[in-house]
């Protein structure tokens, strides 16, 4: 048994299958960071830190003739989103019900998705994660309130990257509002905005809940590193006669290796 303690849950094998499938289904569409940045792992729950190859500048030696430097590492973050599942609903699933109520699981999956995206694309200072837009030295490009000239904004972001010597292909992470507008908008002449953006970006365009505005990133590799300890998993906490308490859990670190390899596209002030 591992630390997720799944064997202790009053859940049948079929019930676990339903839960795992539902979780994957709810997580996959929104995990935008994994679609755009380098991903390594999973390295296991035991992985505690990412090697940065650096030491603190302070000599901590207390002995004459000895130099001592402490290694600097980036600690992995443990992310957990708790939810409950009704035992009555699980019993229904065992009988073959196809509409088992997993509302709390769905909400927990969304929280994990947004937490991962927010940390990677923006920042999570308390967790030691300097995100992509917070690290970028480029001034953010501010889009129009009505999404007018959105292609111009994206093209300017790409040109800014090219000018900085950052090669493509590029990827585009669209926050909720930007995504909705992009997919429903046709430019003059009826050409879909999404298709026009594809021609500019030359790489994936992804739905990124948790992102404010949009972010253009280089996909050449080596610029952004998401290191997974334990990949997203479902574990067991406790149960009573009515519900089983479970959680989604993952551990990871994120590093920006080339800060200039991304440009943010922000909504106008007042629309954020």
């Amino acid at each position: 048994m591992n630390h997720l303690l799944r064997e202790h849950a009053p859940i049948t094998d079929a019930g676990w299958k339903l839960i795992d499938e539902e979780a994957r289904e709810r997580l996959l569409p929104g995990l935008a960071s994994r679609r755009l940045v380098d991903f390594s792992g999973p390295h296991g729950w035991e992985r505690s830190a990412t090697n940065l190859g650096r030491v603190e500048r302070v000599d901590v030696s207390e002995l004459e003739g000895i130099e001592a430097n402490r290694r600097v590492v980036l600690a992995l973050i443990e992310l957990r989103a708790r939810f409950v599942v009704s035992r009555e609903e699980l019993r229904a699933g065992d009988r073959g019900a196809e509409d088992v109520d997993f509302d709390e699981l769905d909400a927990a999956a969304q929280r994990i998705v947004e937490a991962e995206n927010t940390a990677v694309f923006h920042a999570w200072p308390k967790a030691g994660i300097a995100g992509i837009t917070a690290s970028s030295p480029h001034e953010a490009i501010v889009r129009g309130a009505g999404f007018e000239d959105y292609t111009g904004c994206v093209a300017r972001a790409v040109e800014l990257l090219l000018r900085s010597g950052i090669a493509g292909p590029y990827g585009l992470a669209l926050g909720r509002e930007d995504y909705t507008s992009v997919v429903e908008t046709a430019e003059h002449g009826g050409y879909p905005l999404l298709d026009h953006l594809r021609n500019i970006i030359k790489g994936p365009i992804v739905w990124a809940p948790g992102v404010t505005g949009a972010v253009v990133v280089s996909m050449r590799g080596g610029d952004f590193a998401l290191e997974s300890g334990q990949d997203i998993s479902v574990g067991y906490s406790s149960h009573d006669a009515e519900v089983v308490s479970l959680y989604l859990e993952e551990s990871y670190s994120f590093r920006v290796l080339t800060p200039e390899a991304a440009v943010a596209i922000e909504p106008p002030k007042g629309a954020r």
């Binding site: 048994m1 591992n2 997720l4 799944r6 064997e7 849950a9 859940i11 094998d13 676990w16 299958k17 795992d20 979780a23 994957r24 997580l27 996959l28 995990l31 994994r34 679609r35 755009l36 940045v37 380098d38 991903f39 792992g41 999973p42 296991g44 990827g171 997919v183 999404l194 790489g203 994936p204 365009i205 992804v206 739905w207 996909m219 997974s228 334990q230 990949d231 997203i232 998993s233 479902v234 574990g235």
Partner: protein
């Protein structure tokens, strides 16, 4: 082109099983190549030829490792067992038994090495309920 890696009709197999079978076949081929190179190296007397083949067998080991890593990522329980066996000093067989027990294998259902005292017969094991990982990993390049 043959399709010998499939034991069942390919049309009836899910896509991920077909991929898994291809990598299993690739792993077998790499292992065969390693065996062949080791034999050739054992009898080759020309040092230059030996150096070339020694370099080539290194590639085969790399490919073998990559295939193995792929297969283990897709099978969390076997990955747990492999973690207890690979790169461990000491008795390989003992490590194998202990790792199997730790992963909910036949030696000890609850993995605490006590003979399964806390796991009564019929209780679910990690193999039954899955390791817990949703095995999502990298989605790089997948867009709208």
């Amino acid at each position: 082109m043959g399709f010998d890696q499939y034991h069942e009709p390919p049309d009836e197999l899910p896509e991920q099983t077909r991929t898994f079978a291809r990598l299993c076949a690739s792993l077998t081929e790499e292992a065969e190549a390693i065996g062949w190179y080791e034999q050739r190296l054992a009898i080759e007397s020309d040092p230059e030829a030996k150096a070339v083949m020694a370099d080539a067998v290194g590639e085969e080991y790399k490919h073998f490792s990559m295939d193995l890593e792929f297969l283990l990522r897709r099978t969390p329980k076997w990955r747990e067992i492999a973690r207890g066996v690979l790169f461990q000093p000491g008795d390989i067989v003992e490590h194998g038994e202990a790792a199997e027990a730790g992963a909910g294998g036949e030696a000890d259902g609850d993995g605490d090495g006590d003979g399964g005292e806390h796991s009564p017969a019929g209780a679910p094991t990690e193999a039954d309920v899955g390791g817990g990982s949703l095995d999502i990993g990298s989605l790089r390049g997948q867009g709208l």
